[in-house]
């Protein structure tokens, strides 16, 4: 009988935090599916190109078939306007897109977190200054900056990531600052000050409570990273031909959208699936990191 008459003292050792988190993550089926899909895509991007070359003889750069060749035994997804194999390019393009997406997510969330945390924690003039700076960044015509920066720094993968991160952090900073302002006023923060904790430790206390916002901002940044990269590449300032990226593959075929729609569908699908998967994983991650959710 599960009577509450005597709530027994739970003497057995509570499972470790990692175990608990994993259980919470597991309990969200969509997140697990997202994680599996993401892993498969990453695997495809890493080992796909060498495998394709070895077994199918396909490379992303060789003009191995005629332009717009349809799907065939030799070219499972057909060929692009220049006669390069689409499957090989998709696999290779995944590398660029995933790297850019994830790096931008880490970079922009990192910058946003630091700036937002400082502004929100210290408040007052520090907050005013940092937030005015953030507003200024938001007010600048993003694409113009993007183009000039890309032109000055020169096109490369690293530069692309840096430029996009530097432009994308503002939303995160605002979100994090808002959370900090709210949580800073909570009594447990006063309690932390009362026992004499240092600023750094108090910030850590607050940070733990900002995690959900960070995860949301991070997952959104993955998507915008992939998409902004495609725009840059389209203008010739991101990924350089003949290198492939999903964004570039997508935007470079827009003249053929009515005649050869499949050329755009595949990279588009890949972007969509990746972004969705990242979002599901983010949701699971958010729950996994919240000790308040009790799951079996």
């Amino acid at each position: 009988m599960a009577s509450a008459a005597a709530v027994p003292a739970n003497v057995q050792r509570a499972p470790s935090e990692l175990t608990r988190s994993w259980r919470r993550f597991k309990s969200n089926k969509l997140s697990v599916a997202g994680a599996v899909v993401l892993l498969l895509i990453a695997l495809g991007a890493i080992v796909g190109p060498p495998l394709a070359r070895h077994f199918l003889g396909l490379t992303p750069y060789d003009l191995s078939c005629t332009s717009f060749a349809p799907m065939s035994r030799d070219h499972p997804l057909g060929c692009d306007p220049l006669g390069r194999d689409l499957l090989a390019r998709l696999l290779a393009g995944g590398r660029v897109s995933l790297i850019v997406g994830l790096s931008v997510a880490i970079g922009s969330t990192g910058i946003g977190l630091i700036i937002g945390a400082i502004a929100g924690y210290f408040g007052g003039p520090v907050d005013s200054m940092l937030m005015r700076f953030t507003d200024t960044m938001l007010a600048l015509p993003t694409f113009f900056i993007l183009l000039s920066a890309a032109a000055v720094l020169g096109p490369s993968l690293v530069n692309t990531v840096i430029i996009i991160s530097v432009l994308e952090w503002t939303t995160t900073a605002r979100l994090v600052r808002g959370e900090f302002l709210v949580i800073r006023e909570k009594e447990f923060v006063t309690a932390a000050r009362a026992v004499g904790l240092t600023n750094l430790r108090i910030v850590r206390h607050i940070l733990l409570n900002v995690v959900p916002v960070l995860v949301v901002a991070g997952t959104l940044a993955v998507a915008s990273g992939i998409l902004v990269e495609s725009a840059l590449s389209f203008l010739g300032l991101g990924t350089q031909p003949p290198q492939a990226s999903w964004g570039y593959m997508l935007s470079s075929v827009q003249n053929f959208v009515f005649t050869e729609p499949l050329l755009g569908v595949f990279p588009g699908l890949m972007i969509m699936i990746t972004v969705l998967a990242v979002n599901f994983v983010g949701e699971g991650l958010r729950d996994a990191l919240d000790p308040r959710l009790v799951k079996r």
Partner: protein, 698 residues
Amino acid sequence: MTGREATVPDAARVDTGPDASGDLLRVEDLAVFFDTDEGTARAVDGVSFSMGHGETLGLVGESGCGKSVTALSIMRLVAHPGRIVQGRVLYGGRDLASISRREMRRIRGSEIAMIFQEPMSSLNPVFTIGKQIAEAVELHLGVSGREARKRAVDMLERVGIPAANRRVDEYPHQLSGGMRQRVMIAMALSCRPKLLIADEPTTALDVTVQAQILDLLNELRAEYGMSILLITHDLGVVADVCSRAVVMYAGQVVEQGVTAALFSSPQHPYAEGLLKSIPQLGMRNEQTLGLIEGRVPSPLHWPEGCRFAARCDYRFETCAEEPPLFDVAPQQSKCWLCERGRRTPAVNEFVGEQPARARVEVRSHAPGQPLAVPAILRVEALRTHFPVGRHLFGRPDQTIKAVDGVDLELAPGETLGIVGESGCGKSTLGRSLLRLVEPTSGRVEFEGVDITELPSRALRPLRARMQIIFQDPVGSLNPRLRVSQIVGESLRVHGVHSRARRQALVLDALDRVGMGPETVRRYPHEFSGGQRQRIGIARALVLSPRLVVADEPVSALDVSIQSQVLNLMVELKRDLELTYIFIAHNLAVVSYMSDRVAVMYLGKIVELAPARELYERPLHPYTQSLLSAIPVVDLSERRERIKLVGDPPSPIDPPSGCHFRTRCPLARELGTADGICADEEPPLVAKSEGHVAACHFA
């Protein structure tokens, strides 16, 4: 005497119960279940009671006992996933549990009206109060436009809102909490309901305002001949205004009957326990408070048999079976002890019955005289002002004078209580003493060191010796940290580098507050309110402090949990020789805990005296009205109520001279409110030994 009108004598206030013409409302075997992921929560599980015409019935119990759900199901307002699974709610010959929705809607508001605890969230902030009342009138009485508005103004006048003609066009945020509750009452009564359900109507209000609202409800009840179902956890309120009371526990009625009998001779052990666990005015902490061990079980798994048995001091074998409601006139009690008739619990003598605690020797002293030992804390002319409405370039428009010139001296081992209504600055004072809020001016000397000017690095080691306990057991614990981190993290900062040593200290602190070693790996959400409060206390204790500021430590807790925590605090004080500053709005709790009590009003201390002295011979008119406004359980102890008008003024722009003069019954009586009281601020002077008060006439 114009200023000190006595309220209606007790005999007239308390009416004589249901009249012969039958019941207005009869609830029969009502059960309301909630389907949740974890199972079915049987929130209300077979409740029956009845109400007569013109009667005020109190529905009492701790949170989680099902009293609010009972009230909501009378109105058929239980939200999904809750459902009424059985029983009848008979009102005017109809069963409200089974009539159509359309019929029910017609009854709501016009026949049965309801007011809630939180007057701010129950009013829509974007409509004027007049519109909101008029809307109810239009809907139910079929009058419209000008006529509805006129009714609204009439109602506002009737509930005691001054200048109702003007106020009718104001928005909810322009009114104080007490005024908003009056508006809610006006709205509820605008259609002359026969039954008013009031769910904790005064819980969010200050005692002096609570007294006003309770008086108002009582007057309106008599005038309109309506009945009131008053839901509250405050037994004092029930004793004050209800003729009969129903005590609920674990979804069932465990005792009901005439208030006077129920309070002087409770038949059910739960009712008895509740009565014993609240400190009475004038009770001192040499007496341990009565305890109800444990807490209310979960409605998902009510215990078999008597649901209270697990927490009951009287339990015996028969308790494994569920007792029926025995008729022990003038009460009914759901306890096997009453099987053969009334039992005689000695509630009125419970003070003597409890084990007396060894008197803690306190070196209390008279203000103004030098202490025999060095003071642990000395406060001089402390002011904490907050800027509001800052201009673009930094110069604030106005300042809130939260603490405005406070002097205090505390002997080691003493407990100083600080009472006052919300907004009087008592919490800010407590936090300023620890520099959790930066004081604007003045000195705070802790163990001989002036801490007001210390840089934070130098203050840090002192923090270990002065700690604070917070009110909110939810908000004061970081939800993302384990108990071991919450309690133990400060030790790292204060130089305990050995992990094993930290662990030992944490376990020791938890053990002191009655929490076992298995708690360290858990998170705050896994604990109940009382347990969380214990964790908060352990966090303060782990640093071995000398001074502990307790800021409303029990006001968020249920009655039975409150007594557990208060007893714990008294024990800790004795064992660890702590010095407490005990801040609360509840004068009975403060005087129970404290050696001396300071009464604050608008940022200043208006009276300071030894606890018993303050309770027996209050000098300041404010203290007198506070004491008289507290609803007391013991009906023979009730004081003549001194009515205070209005709410405390804003600390942004307090009245000149004596801040209290605008509400002061004495000044009104003497006609000096605009004379000396407005011109001169009364100094805080000794009126007798150890008793200071700031009043020209006290």
